[in-house]
Amino acid sequence: MKKRDIMALPAFFALVGPALIIYLFIIAYPIVYSVALSFSDFNPNRGGSWNFVGLLQYKTMFSDPNFWHALKNNLIVVAVSVFGQIPIGFVLAYILYRKLVKAANFFQTAVFLPHFLSTIVIGILWRRMFEADGPISRLMQITSGDPSAQFDLMLYSDTVMYPIAFALIWIYTGLYMIIFLANLQKINDNLIEAAKIDGASEPQVFFKVIVPMLSGTILVSVILAIAGSLRGFDLIFSITTQGLQRTNAMVLPIFMYQTAFQNYSNEMRFAYGAAISNVIVLISLILIAISKLMSRKTDV
């Protein structure tokens, strides 16, 4: 057996090799590169020499008001995902699971659809929907009878995140609905029947039987929502117009992109951008760890 094993070793590496090599070059090496870059003063205009500068880029970042503005908006996006998409997705899944409606398949297909469409396309679509002379403004004029009514939330820095939050919920609710529905269908019906025989009311069944059984799924969804909403770039980039509106709705990935690829006057733009990228990953790891800890506490 041993001898054949060693004979088979080249075959093993021949099979695993292509995947492993591409992965190491395109994902693993860039991770290391990104960390190293963020501790350097790499200057693309000066032939690209590297010097170790410690936490310089991170210090610049923490004293940059743009960073805090983008972080605040990013946390709003996280909150919308966790407290908007997931509960709505859960409710819709529960309705489908309890077979309260006919044509469940139709509803499921329709609600899940936006998840697969290009986020850029959806962003442009909602940008047009929210425009001053767009369909939403027109709807407001029809319903209020006031011909001068306008949808203007996109225009102000303190309200721009509301329409964006709506668009985010619009895209992703279906994803969580599908995840919850698949896991609800694994629950043994007898448990619910037993609870009912014991005299539990419908809300009691929901909160005392179903929600606890899905705590693992809720955790997975929360992790997905956190990771996804911190790295999300496309929607906010395309739903806003270039300039003030995009600055108002700035999130960390857009801040990173503009720093590294549009701000040519910054000599250390790549090093600074890498620091921002790394912080995005770090924040999502921290938030994921917190939600894991919290779920462990509530389980006991």
């Binding site: 094993d5 088979a8 099979l15 995947a19 860039p30 609710t173 997975v220």
Partner: protein, 364 residues
């Protein structure tokens, strides 16, 4: 204990109201996008909700004869085709903006029409039958023709296809090979290490590595090339594919592999002739998820592709929408071009997609 009837009815009513409203919120903007892409710009300004009419009902459209001018771009090759043409512009759809223009071959026209002068008005119904038919379809798809030709969307559509298909093929091939080695060869420890390393990639997205990727690909001269973009898509498709494939192949009994080996089949033969056919369901799931993700991806191409030759559809649609912000009809047509293929794939494979997404989410 059954719920009493009033409560039951109330519950059902609430359920229907909630689901129907959410479905309407989801579907109505998409329906609006779809039918509005057949509306002229004037119609979109006067009534943003009305059904399309001007472009569809065009049998009696009025046209003005115009002179050849620099701002009128012919839709045929002037060098190769020197035949005389009559140039007419619509008097109703974007009039005097030289957007809705036809070039009619003079030799096909009646003597009367051959002699009309610039400034004269003619009606579509005066033209020969096959010309009428051509103008009819060109008018119906006016927004689509404009979006595709002015935004260069045809080429970008093909680029998107190249990226999605090539990368998905490579992802499948490499992931199957790796998954087979990891689950059916006797190197459990090595397999665990390789699996763990590749699985880590599931936590990282293209967005978080875009800067080092750009710098490294610049160094080796692969930015703005199809190969560079395909390589990155392949790498980022691997973690999910390896995971789903390994799960599936682990479930295939080892005895099948063993008996094939006794019959003298080599490792590669076993993979291609036994494992791959059995793994078709998971291959389909992986392919659709990977291809759709690549079809919709934006930031990588935005950063890496600097020339028109490598841009993909989302980037093309995005820049088209910033350049032609006053032509809402054209933009909506461009959005439909980018979403229609996805919708078709989605409606065919909806069940599979749901399963794949759930499987990926739970392991991730």
């Amino acid at each position: 204990m059954k719920m009493d009837a009033p409560k039951r009815i109330a519950g059902k009513t609430i359920a229907y109201v909630v689901l129907i409203s959410w479905t309407l919120i989801t579907v109505l903007p998409l329906l609006w996008m779809g039918y509005s892409s057949f509306k002229s710009n004037e119609e979109l300004i006067t009534n943003i909700y009305a059904p399309p009419k001007a472009l569809l009902d065009n049998k009696n459209d009025e046209y003005v004869v115009i002179k050849p001018q620099l701002n009128v771009t012919p839709d045929y090759d002037i060098e190769k085709d020197p035949r005389e043409r009559l140039i007419i512009e619509s008097a109703t759809i974007s009039p005097e903006r030289r957007l809705m223009v036809h070039f009619l071959l003079k030799e096909d026209l009646s003597a009367e029409l051959q002699n009309v002068q610039p400034g004269d008005h003619i009606y579509v119904s005066q033209l020969p039958k096959d010309m009428q038919r051509e103008i009819h379809w060109k008018t119906v798809f006016f927004n689509y023709r404009s979006a595709i030709s002015r935004g260069g969307l045809g080429r970008k559509f093909i680029n998107s296809l190249i990226y999605s298909i090539t990368s998905t093929f490579l992802v499948n091939l490499f992931a199957l090979m790796a998954a087979f080695a990891m689950s059916k060869m006797q190197f459990k420890k090595l397999a665990m290490i390789v699996g763990g390393v590749i699985g880590l990639g599931y936590l990282i997205s293209i967005n978080s590595l875009i800067i080092p990727l750009f710098l490294l690909l610049t160094k080796v001269g692969l930015t703005d090339t199809h190969i560079g973009i395909i390589l990155v898509y392949t790498a980022f498709g691997l973690p999910l594919a390896v995971m789903l494939d390994t799960q599936f192949i682990s479930g295939i009994p080892y005895s099948l592999v063993e008996s094939a080996r006794i019959d003298g089949a080599g490792t590669f033969k076993i993979l291609m002739a036994i494992i791959t056919p059995m793994a078709t369901p998971v291959i389909v799931t992986v392919s659709i998820l990977t291809a759709l993700g690549i079809w919709n991806e934006f930031l990588l191409v935005l950063v890496l592709a600097s020339s028109e030759a490598t841009k993909s559809l989302p980037v093309g649609v995005f820049s088209f929408s910033s350049l032609t912000s006053t032509q809402l009809g054209w933009q909506l047509a461009a959005l439909v071009v980018a979403t229609l293929p996805v919708m078709i794939v989605y409606f065919i494979f909806q069940k599979r997609l749901a399963e794949g997404v759930v499987g990926g989410a739970i392991k991730g």
